[in-house]
Symmetry: C2
Subunit: 323 residues, 2 copies
């Protein structure tokens, strides 16, 4: 057998090992386990979350420009703040850069950050960071946000009778990644530069959704104000992320809408998944299902159990030899 390695363990199990050591010391209102932590500060509380993009498992420079990388790194982090019902106010960005990278890379990266924040989270800016070198290009982002007079919306508040609703796209980013994997790799599987000429408008849209996701960040606060009982952003696919709300809330989520496989299992769109008391979902949210008493499974699709929850676990799914 030999020693257990990171590759032999699921992300969930690895996290459980870490939390066994660290959780007893937590003093946060919401500690590890939700989209973001909620921390008391004098006079109020803040929301804080971190997400890292690593060359290889998270992006490939043949497909992703420096601008797109900055845009996506900003987008996925402000989406986690929105997923608490909060408004993003500041990012801290730690860059670890290979020495061979063109120095102009940081200009385009910074511009991607700036534009993403201007579009998705006006009022939020990069307020700090760190620079170091690494053989592996790594962008580690922390996002901070404030609760504008609302309670944070956790994954654990869904109640039987609630409606399940989404805002934002489902499946586009995963379709885009599929196009990149199928059509923009050479015979060895190495990513090659994307030629947009060969793409239909729909394909371009999907690739854009993968490379420059545009989560509906401003709707996080809207959901909280409308009385959302549970809220998260869909980073690992609707089925897997629905099961997380279902498990955290002790309920079953029953999805009734017509949803294709990409919509059910595709991650990385960072759409918002919310539960609302019946009839309370704001217009920007589309109702796709209902919360029920906990049954045998966490999620039902048109009344049936789905075995393939999909989603992306970097510890189980990433193969550095295949890319």
């Amino acid at each position: 057998m030999g020693e257990l390695r990171v590759r032999d363990v699921s992300e969930k199990d690895l996290l459980a090992r870490i939390l066994r050591v660290l959780s007893p010391a937590s003093r946060a209102e919401v500690g590890p386990g939700d989209d973001a932590a909620v921390l008391a500060v004098p006079g109020g509380r803040i929301v804080a979350t971190t997400d890292t993009l690593v060359h290889g498992p998270d992006f490939r420079l043949a497909w992703t420009s420096a601008y797109d990388l900055g845009y996506k790194a900003a987008a996925v982090n402000v989406a986690d703040v929105a997923a608490m019902g909060a408004r993003p106010t500041a990012l801290l960005v730690a860059l670890a850069l290979p020495e061979s990278l063109p120095a102009s890379f940081v200009d385009h990266l910074a511009t991607g950050f700036r534009d993403a924040l201007a579009e998705l989270a006006p009022g939020c800016a990069v307020e700090g960071g760190d620079l170091t070198v690494s053989d592996t290009l790594t962008v580690a982002v922390t996002a901070l946000g404030v609760l504008d007079g609302v309670e944070p919306v956790l994954r654990s508040g869904a109640r039987p009778g609630d409606e399940v609703a989404v805002a934002g796209e489902l499946g586009a980013a995963a379709r885009g990644l599929g196009i990149l994997f199928r059509r923009f790799r050479d015979a060895d599987g190495t990513p090659v530069v994307v030629s947009t000429d060969a793409l239909s408008p729909a394909e371009r849209h999907d690739i854009d959704a993968q490379l420059r996701p545009r989560p509906p960040v401003e709707l996080g606060v809207v959901a909280a104000r409308a009385g959302a009982t549970a809220l998260m952003d869909i980073s690992d696919g609707l089925l897997l992320d629905s099961s997380r709300i279902a498990d955290a809330s002790g309920v079953t989520i029953s999805l009734d809408a017509d949803l294709d496989d990409a919509a059910l299992t595709g991650g990385e769109d960072h759409a918002l998944l919310a539960c609302f008391p019946a009839g309370m979902a704001p217009p920007a949210f589309e109702v796709i299902g209902r919360v029920r008493e906990r049954g045998e499974t966490a999620v039902l699709v048109k009344g049936a159990v789905r075995d393939d929850r999909g989603g992306w676990d970097p510890y189980a799914d990433w193969d550095s030899t295949l890319g």
Copy 2:
């Protein structure tokens, strides 16, 4: 000539390029450029900083255990919070792990974080994080802190007539790194495991200072309460970091104490460097110099100019082929 690469540019210049894009959007009370950002939140403000440790330039696993890595990653980040005169309250930790790493690595790493916080910053805990895989082991930490009724102490407030003082060790971490480089590498320069049997107590102390720094975190608030006019932690050596306060404040710092080369140029102890109005330095701080009107140079040592400011610039100093 060819294109300018990251290796051709100083960290300072690279940062300047990034800030040219991002600074116009900053809304923080203190944005990029000091030890940490100061952000307004409803009812108050918080201090936020991020620092990343990358395998290779920042640590080598032959020398650094998982426990030590966690300890150091926590220590250097809470030191940056202390360097604003603030009290650390929460860490977010993003881990990027090679798949071949033993899974037990995360247990020891988490324990190092826990113990460092219990010793250096009681009341501060890891409240969130992120897990991903990478070919390069990377630990990206964000530290948050609160200002307990004091103003943040920046690098820019030193005034002629102030005393310059330090709390904590000077030079020990650099001496420890020197011992590691000289005595614990094989013929190819590859780090080899440290045998503590071969070390004197003083050498062990210095290696411990390098691997598990113990900055005087609680003295950050003490300095702020005592009226410190400038404050930072010494991560790149007393000379280089003194010049940063001198430049930010538009003054010259004149160091008068007997300080050897290690104390003047050695980084990574994360001692606190502070300026106080004359006679106001608290007992835990040792007065080592005086702030003067700005002269031709930022720093004088016993009245003389030193050319070698020392310090560690990862973009200029790190050579991945030499380690």
